[in-house]
């Protein structure tokens, strides 16, 4: 093993063994995402009577899929503190934004036709 063969990987601190491990994780996540999609669509064809249940399941699976993408494809599972702080602030402002918008529920401008 010469130093030269490692020149690219050393700079980033990923050995070939590590990369091989990463690739296995990527494939597992990929399969999980496919399964998640199939599950969401299949459950949708069952037509539950409860609308709340349908929405909850669909959003639950979507959240799991999004978490997998963010953690493994976007490497958030092992990121530096700077990124976490930045994203923490983003989550705070996102929740504030959504709260502000959704708090106007039930308020209609005068003359709105709702049916």
């Amino acid at each position: 093993m010469s130093d030269h063969s490692h020149s690219h990987s050393d700079a980033h601190g990923h050995s070939p063994e590590e990369v091989a491990k990463h690739k296995r994780v990527y494939i597992v996540v990929f399969l999980a995402l496919l399964v998640g999609t199939v599950v969401t669509v299949a459950l949708n064809y069952l037509h539950f009577d409860s609308k709340a249940l349908t929405i909850t399941i669909a959003l639950f699976v979507a959240t799991i899929k999004a978490t997998l993408v963010a953690c493994y494809f976007m490497h958030l599972i092992s990121e530096k503190k700077t990124i976490y702080v930045l994203l923490g602030a983003t989550v705070f402002f996102l929740l504030a934004l959504m709260g502000l918008i959704l708090s106007s529920y039930g308020g209609y401008p005068n003359g709105t036709v709702t049916h």
Partner: protein
Amino acid sequence: MEIPYTSKPRPDTGIYNSKVGIWLFLASEVMLFGALFSSYILLRVGAGEGTWPHGLLSIPIGTFNTFVLITSSVTVVMGWAALQVGNFGRYKVYQAITILCALGFLGIKSFEYRDKFKHYEVWLKNPITVHQGGKAVLTDRLLGHIEYQGHHPYFWTTPRLAGSPEIKDKDGKVVKAAVAAVESFKFQPDPIHYTMTPKEMAHAKAEAKGHAHEVIEIKSSDVKRLSAFIPSHSTFFAIYFTLTALHGLHVLGGALVIFYIWGPGAKMWKTDPQRYMNRVEVSGLFWHFVDLVWIFLFPIIYLL
């Protein structure tokens, strides 16, 4: 002037600057899509009973496009991993698949859009009897396709039926030719309407299979309102086109950047491999974000 820390990590943050940059940008993107998603929820829960269209988008097509986007996301990370061990050839193959997936996604999406632009809802002044799923139904709201003078027209709305006069400019030159009024048109009604429950809809679709489509003649004077499935049709289509078109632009932008790095920008692999890998990683982060947005868009727009 050289931009600092594009290849080596900055000592205090421990990461190279472009990564902080892309995450800041993605934070702003989260706010953009967050605002639109919230608007969607607000519009949806505020809509009157039975007014929110559902079941008008093709679930198989949407599902297929979801697979396409997920595949493109995994090829991005696999390509990046190939670069980590110096396998440039394999990286080229993976990213080529990514770019093809992006084009495939956009192609399928534009096919869907085109289909919507010539699909119609007609609100009639008086209810008529049509056959829906083997049953005769009295209704004043029909979904379906228009046939007029041998064509399936695009983008029609109510004013089109009245036609429009010739428009001339100051010098008397015709700027826009007169459009003749539509006396009547042929209409091929769908067996479904979004006022049905999902169960009724599935039933009506199954019943209609194998039956010949009926074609009815509708007089323009009987039409209260008419609209193609375009933003002015309803709040649903307005937010549908806003969200999916904005997402589509992101797919296009991301694909262009990935293509540049993959093609003309690939020279950097020889001169500064670490910086090149960072570019691949940063463009990949954007790409995964676009995938992530679709992961939420697909269920809320196609399924719920």
